[in-house]
Symmetry: C2
Subunit: 152 residues, 2 copies
């Protein structure tokens, strides 16, 4: 343990873990998180990915270019609307290359969570939900301020 | 909220917040977290920063180069050992440029934490400490495996 503030130390370790994972996969840390969204959501248009992450469409295009080059996604015509392009994640490649790297950590987290009683889990769940909300709002403010100053 | 797994969603939001912050500062996400360590630890040698983050000395050199170019740190001779170089964070610049961007989020997190009772705080604290430990170990394994395969 390093920092006195546990929240700072946690965010440091989240970033360093994801950096290490992204380095192993040969992609950027944000690319990997966008890929995570595609794994949860399935194939979606690039615009929807921009919406979910708060990244600009320009930034999302760069993310998808890198993921496509690395073979983790491909651009496909939307079967529901052939004029639209959707981003299709390569689930097979993720299962073979990403899951084995994350699995030990996921197992340990699952073991940790099973060590808490119901009341404790409720407190932790409230902490996580509220923190997600705070970070989402804070990121959105930073991104908006950046885009506004860029547009000037 | 997006992902079904709250731990995944939390890590996504941690990464996206730090990405947005790093974008605003014109540095990389890992650069910003290394800078956070320097703000907590004070001036330390590059080797110590490598040790604390698990990054290779090569990666740390690149981090320090970028932080130095952006004016957030400078390389100085260690007053205790003039043959040694230490990384000195520019606290004034951090106070003027980084703190105002983080302050609203820190305030909201502090408000959130004060809404929990002692028992809840203990559970949350155990969750955070154990998660830090799990992520630290997992990152270390990924980094070691990468360095080993690189050495081959």
């Amino acid at each position: 343990m390093l920092n006195r503030n546990p929240g700072h130390e946690l965010s440091l370790r989240v970033v360093l873990f994801h950096q290490a994972l992204a380095d192993r996969l040969g992609i950027n840390i944000t690319d990997h998180k966008c890929l995570g969204i595609l794994h949860e959501e399935g194939a979606i248009p690039a615009g929807r990915l921009a919406e979910l992450t708060g990244l600009t469409t320009g930034a999302i295009t760069a993310v998808i270019d890198r993921l496509e080059r690395a073979g983790f996604v491909c651009r496909e015509k939307d079967p529901k609307d052939r004029r639209r392009v959707i981003i299709q994640p390569n689930m097979e490649k993720a299962k073979n290359e990403i899951q084995p790297l994350m699995e030990p950590m996921i197992q340990e987290m699952s073991q940790l969570m099973s060590s808490f009683n119901q009341q404790e889990l409720e407190a932790i769940s409230r902490y996580i939900d509220k923190t997600i909300h705070i970070l989402e709002q804070a990121a959105s403010k930073l991104q908006k301020a950046k885009n506004t100053s860029r547009d000037k």
